[in-house]
Amino acid sequence: MKKLFLIIAIVFGVSLNAQQTPAPPQSEQIAIIGATIHVGNGEVIENGTIIFTDGKITSIGADLMAPTIGTMINAEGKHVYPGFIAPSKPLGLVEVDAVRASDDQDEIGEMIPHVRSIIAYNAESKVVESMRPNGVLIGQVTPQGGTISGTSSIVQFDAWNWEDAAIKTDDGIHMNWPNFFRRGRWWAGEPRGFRPNENYGKEMDDIKMFFDNSDAYSKAEEKEKNLPFAAMEGLFDGSKRLYIHAHGEKEITDAVTFAKAAGVQHIVIVGGYRAYRIADFLKENNIPVLVNVTHSLPKMEDDDYDLPYKLPKLLVDAGLLVGIQNEEMGNFQARNMGFYAGQAVAQGLDKETGIKMLTGNTAKILGIDDMYGTLEVGKSATLFISEGDAMDMRTNQLTKAYIDGRDVSLETHQTKLWKRYMGKFEREGK
């Protein structure tokens, strides 16, 4: 039976280049034994055991009795992690950046919260499947562009279609806060560097008017349907989060002050290049940050060369709730999520805190921590086993990954090509 599957896989998989087939539901109990378990909340269990049934973790700890039923996986010397989460990415919305036909990430319009990413999410994306072998198992599928880009949803990365994939549908609205300094329009002859944005005040006011109108609309007794206003309602009742993409001190301050006054219940800052300078303000207001990817260049020449590397640490040290994201990079780069955290660890951040920024913290920020992000009894068995430290490319080597207890494939379009051509050269004796 297994052989037959393999043959089918080879015949169809290779010829059609289709995505790996999603794994079936967990059919029997699985126990991973003897591993270093990174819980995702800062704790680490040496020589630990984790047991899961029907997709949920049933027990976890150091001194568990070895189970007698189901599958046992000896993971001695190996590491177990909660599945890494890639927030704020248009994964599954664009396949090849330069091929317009494959691009569904940016709809026309400045304020379009009603535009929903989930229905365009391509569960069979080859880019998405390439996340799994590196331990990135969950993502927040996020529309791009405009001021209010649309509404994101959170998915897991092993599914037949977007309904199967959805973990949390329409979880939040993404807003690109205007910049009070903008880049020079070099194509119109201006120098490239940042210069004052003469429209900053107006752009902020446009946002304010839109929020005010949405709020007023939500209170109206008789409504003629307004799709954009209606989509905003969740922000005021707390069912949706507001992700504000902003970097500067002034912008973040303006944005948070505005959003709080507008009655938004959950505010998240995405980016936050200068957030460390107003960490106290963010802490006072209880604002978490999905911090800018560490693998980026300093924005100013005078900035410390390693400022992007240590940004997460600066925010963590200031007592903020921090997750990590790489929205500035290509989709395919999201598989490097682990290494972005590793880079922050290289700057002196505690390793388990590094893991939290990929798992527990991010789940909390996204509001999926009831089921995901940490390895605790009752939560989803979405996790993976790595030969070594998963935040270091030198040792990130997955042997197993599970999503909701399902044993997901670590093969991809890329591993198939690898094997195919290694096979070719072997066959030819080269």
Partner: protein
């Protein structure tokens, strides 16, 4: 021949002063020529800035200086002006002006597809080469601007058409409103002008970059030579003009310190010494600037302070820009101190009015007044070959001179008159009577107190009755003083007087509100006293220290070679990893590798627990470049990345902090045949020239795939648009290069062609190709083309489907420089896999991991780590992919790339296993000099913070004093990738 013609012309030109004698006239009598003299006596006369006559006499006639000296006998038919206490200077000259020449207008249109062909016929093949243009052709004397220029002290300006790369000739004009063109045009082909900027009048695509403009200039000179020898059967009016203009002063509008060096380099190659328009930042590379031996035309548009009152805005200003604000006014002094000859231009100033302020600032910053005066008089005259005619007051020279109240560059000095060719222009009446002071005015039974202050020529009035201040108005011109004032409930009084002398009383006629007229006298009660200037000019400004380069992380002095012993490190040699090993760095080399080495005089670095490796070599980068693509032609083999290296680019320092010591600066992928590569050593602080890897082999960038087909942007007019066409481009160019080379080697005359020369080098094995490539078909094609022409491709870069043809690559002998895990960004990378490097390696291809990206470049060690992850390559082999293998691909592996005794000491000390994400580069050395040190970096961060604060304080002060300020803007360096346009 040409010179003779020119001389003839000059002769005709100079006689033309009187030549109107032969013109018939019909508007009066002809015998009305003024042959009288004018004598200016008792003046301090600056015949030249260094030849000064006290109490001298200047005698002029018919617009020329007849005599100058202490004892000049004044002819009887002379009008004499006593200039007791006043000074006479030669009028100024501006060598770089747009006076009277209309700026060409931008050509309309410009569709989506670029225009590759020229618009013109009968001229050079490139529209941006226009030596046949003469400013005189469109010159129109502008009396209004001439007046502004005279007010600033100018007597002659040299105007040119500021458009195009070869701009043709300028016109030298005396600012004499009363003269005819026949008299005031001093030269209608005064100098020949060049720049690096394309003409706005043509959309022709080439050159699209600075390096393209430089290559075009070089080819232009070759073509001129070829044409002048009669080898071309058709007519080329551009080349003919260029040949004709050879004897003129050659002026290059460069515009900044880097471009000054670039222009000079071109000149050196062709035996031309340009006079070069600078940018005011020459002090940053003064040694290199001095070495050009060029005379400079210097703008003095020193930047205004930034308005830094808002800290959020101030954040966007880089230290280097703040520092430039602080240091730019010292530029003229630095140049003068270093013996660089320069003239000062109004170019870049908003208005000629600003000249004096800026000059005084330069003088405050140490420029001598003599140098300043020379820069405006004798030096420009010399540059234009007009010494003895303008710029001084020697006998026979034009009577272009200034009459001032004193030292011309002093704050209170008044410019009274500017004479040009003997024509007087009164800027301010020198015989004006000073009416300033406090007076009483008795009128209609009341006494009013009148206080006149302000400047001599435009006094201000304050009129009071008792303590009550009255609304008043004053006008003072041509000795007539007119006051009017209004008293509440009574009405307006008017008073007017002809000022006779400075006796203290001014008698005038008053008219009361009811119309009564009477005589009323102003009686002086208190003489006027000039208020002490609050700002003391003598106060020496605080100058920041220059660093190398002059940016935030520049070093106070260039790093020096050190002798260092790294003790007890884990050492990565070419083929093995040695534990607990010492490495001695001495004389710029890796002197010894072994156990328990003796320190001798070496600085000992405890490397216990640390790793010492060779410096990373990025085989494919675009950092530190001012341009990356010359896409104006489908082949641009003639352009050189070495021409456009930017030694101040922050990417250099950041790469050093990531353990990178050398990098190949590649041309982009805009065309199948790109430009010549530059191999750099990241010697932060050196000039562009100093960054080039000495004696490095020659390389060129080729490119295949979507970019050269222009697939991802809307341009449909350039061949090739398909991979099929790409092959034909190569076949065509190599075939022609082969024929060119045969012709050249045959000893027959041939047109020197930089593009063909470069391609012939490839055929002759003297230049190597790094070829940007993606899919297997094109990779295969490129190798077949090379084999057909009997050479080998050296390196495929990108090479993302290299794994599909790795066996063929190994057989061809080509290496692969690839990315670890990039894909999905365009169609041709659908099959790019992170196992690519591992597969190519296993098939025996020399593999390098490179960046094409400023961000990735500074952590290539991690990218090498990914090769262990994807495909299980051993750690030492993975490490070689960022060190020894790129060294091999660059043919530099005998000098760098691994830790071996005798190799150059380009090494990195890592805090951890170098393939690990946790490794930090602690020290990075090039040739035994420490170019990055984490400890030193920390100190520099503090220093930057301090200096920023200091400068911000100074700028706030400037703002408080009412100095001009400007809105903060960031001056960002562009970061390039292959397909950056």
């Amino acid at each position: 021949m040409r010179l003779k013609l020119l001389a003839l012309f000059l002769f005709v030109g100079s006689v033309s002063l009187f030549a109107q004698d032969y013109f018939p006239i019909n508007d009066g009598v002809k015998a009305k020529k003024n042959n009288n003299y004018m004598a200016f006596t008792n003046a301090k006369i600056y015949v030249t800035p260094t030849q000064v006559i006290n109490n001298g006499t200047l005698l002029i006639k018919n617009g020329k200086v007849v005599q100058v000296g202490k004892s000049v006998s004044i002819p009887k038919n002379a009008v004499v002006e006593d200039l007791e206490g006043k000074s006479i200077y030669p009028s100024f000259i501006d060598v770089f002006s747009g006076f009277g020449v209309e700026k060409p207008k931008r050509a309309p249109g410009g569709g989506r597809s670029a225009q590759y062909e020229p618009t013109r016929e009968g001229f050079y093949w490139n529209d941006h080469i226009m030596p046949e243009n003469n400013a005189i052709g469109s010159f129109k004397y502008d009396a209004k601007k001439a007046s502004d220029l005279r007010k600033a002290g100018f007597g002659a300006v040299n105007a040119n058409i500021e458009d195009g790369i070869a701009r043709g000739t300028g016109v030298l004009v005396a600012l004499n409103d009363d003269a005819s063109e026949a008299q005031r045009i001093l030269s209608d082909k005064s100098a020949q002008y060049f720049s690096f900027e394309k003409s706005v009048t043509s959309p022709q695509s080439y050159p699209g970059s600075l390096m393209g403009a430089m290559a075009l200039m070089r080819q232009l000179y070759y073509d001129m030579d070829w044409y002048s020898k009669g080898n071309v059967e058709t007519n080329d009016r551009s080349l003919e003009a260029l040949i004709a203009n050879k004897g003129l002063t050659q002026i290059y509008a460069a515009g900044d310190n880097g471009n000054v060096l670039r222009a000079d380099k071109i000149g050196d190659q062709f035996g031309v010494q340009y006079t070069i328009l600078g940018g005011g930042d020459e002090y940053q590379f003064i040694d290199d600037i001095k070495a050009t031996n060029a005379k400079l035309i210097l703008p003095i548009n020193f930047p205004d302070a930034y308005d830094v009152s808002n800290p959020y805005e101030a954040e966007y200003i880089e230290l280097k820009d703040m520092r430039h604000w602080n240091m730019a006014p010292s530029n003229p002094k630095v140049l003068a101190d270093n013996g660089v000859e320069f003239t000062i231009t109004l170019h870049g100033l908003k208005s000629p009015k600003d000249l004096k302020d800026k000059l005084m600032k330069a003088i405050t910053y140490g420029l001598s007044k003599t140098k300043a005066l020379e820069a405006l008089t004798t030096v420009p005259a010399e540059i234009l070959g007009k010494t003895g005619e303008i710029g001084s007051l020697q006998v026979g020279s034009q009577a272009n001179f200034l009459i001032t109240s004193g030292e011309i560059f002093d704050k209170g000095t008044i410019l009274y008159e500017n004479w040009v060719q003997g024509t007087k222009d009164i800027i301010q009446n020198k015989d004006i009577k000073d009416v300033r002071g406090d007076y009483n005015l008795a009128l209609g039974g009341s006494t009013y107190s009148v206080s006149l202050t302000g400047s001599i020529d435009k006094p201000k009035a304050e009129i009071k009755k008792g303590d009550e201040k009255l609304d008043s108005k004053i006008d003072y011109s041509a000795d007539w003083l007119n006051l009017s004032f209004t008293e509440d409930k009574i009405g307006s009084y008017r008073w007017v007087a002809h000022v006779m002398d400075n006796s203290g009383t001014i008698k005038g006629k008053a008219v009361t509100p009811n119309g009564d007229e009477s005589t009323a006298t102003l009686t002086l009660t208190k003489a006027f006293e000039e208020k002490e200037d609050e700002e003391k000019a003598s106060e020496a400004p605080q100058l920041m220290a220059l660093t190398y380069p002059n940016t935030g992380y520049g070093y106070a002095s260039k790093p020096k070679q050190e002798t260092i012993l790294f003790k007890n490190a884990t050492v990565w040699t070419g083929e093995s990893i040695l534990e607990n090993t010492d490495v001695l760095v001495k004389g710029g080399k890796i002197s010894k590798v072994g156990k328990d080495l003796k320190a001798g005089g070496a600085t000992v670095v405890d490397a216990t627990g640390k790793h010492l490796t060779a410096g990373i070599i990025d085989e494919h980068t675009h950092i530190a470049a001012l341009s990356v693509n010359e896409g104006g032609h489908n082949s641009s083999a003639e352009v050189r990345m070495a021409d456009v290296v930017d030694p101040t680019h922050p990417g250099i320092y950041r790469d050093l902090a990531g353990g990178v010591t050398a990098a190949q600066l590649l041309h982009g992928s805009a065309n199948p045949i790109g430009g010549q590569s530059a191999i750099l050593r990241l010697k932060w602080g050196e000039s562009a020239e100093g960054l080039l890897f000495d004696n490095a082999p020659k390389f060129i960038k080729f490119a295949l795939g979507e970019n050269v087909k222009q697939s991802n942007w809307g341009s449909y007019s350039r061949f090739p648009q398909t991979r099929m066409g790409v092959e034909q481009v190569y076949t065509d160019y190599f075939q022609r290069a082969k024929e060119y080379d045969t012709q050249k080697k045959s000893g027959q005359p041939f047109r020197y062609d930089e593009e063909m020369e470069t391609l012939a080098e490839i055929l002759n094995g003297e230049r190597f190709i790094s070829c940007h490539s993606y899919v297997q078909s094109e990779i295969n094609m490129m190798m077949k083309v090379a084999e057909k022409f009997d050479f080998r491709v050296n390196t495929f870069t990108h090479i993302l489907e290299g794994y599909k043809v790795a066996d063929k690559m190994a057989e061809h002998g080509v290496g692969g420089g690839t990315f670890s895990d990039w894909w999905a960004y365009k169609y041709e990378v659908n099959d790019a896999i992170p196992y690519n490097a591992a597969i190519m390696h296993s098939e025996g291809v020399t593999v390098a991991i490179n960046s094409d990206d400023a961000e990735m470049s500074r952590r290539l060690n991690q990218e090498a780590g990914k090769i262990v992850k994807y495909g299980g390559v051993s750690e030492i082999e993975a490490w070689k992919m960022v060190t020894l293998n790129p060294a091999k691909l660059l043919h530099l592996d005998d000098r760098v790339g691994s830790i071996e005794e005798g190799k150059d000491a380009d090494v990195v000390l890592w805090s951890d296993h170098p393939l690990s994400i946790y490794a930090l580069a602690e020290k990075t050395l090039i040739e035994g000099k420490v170019y990055f040190d984490r400890e030193k970096d920390k100190e520099m961060r503090e220093a930057i913070k301090k200096e920023r604060n200091l400068l911000i304080g100074m700028m706030l002060n400037e703002g408080k004093k009412g100095g001009p300020t400007r809105t903060p803007v960031q001056s960002e360096k562009q970061t390039f990738e292959c397909d950056t346009q």
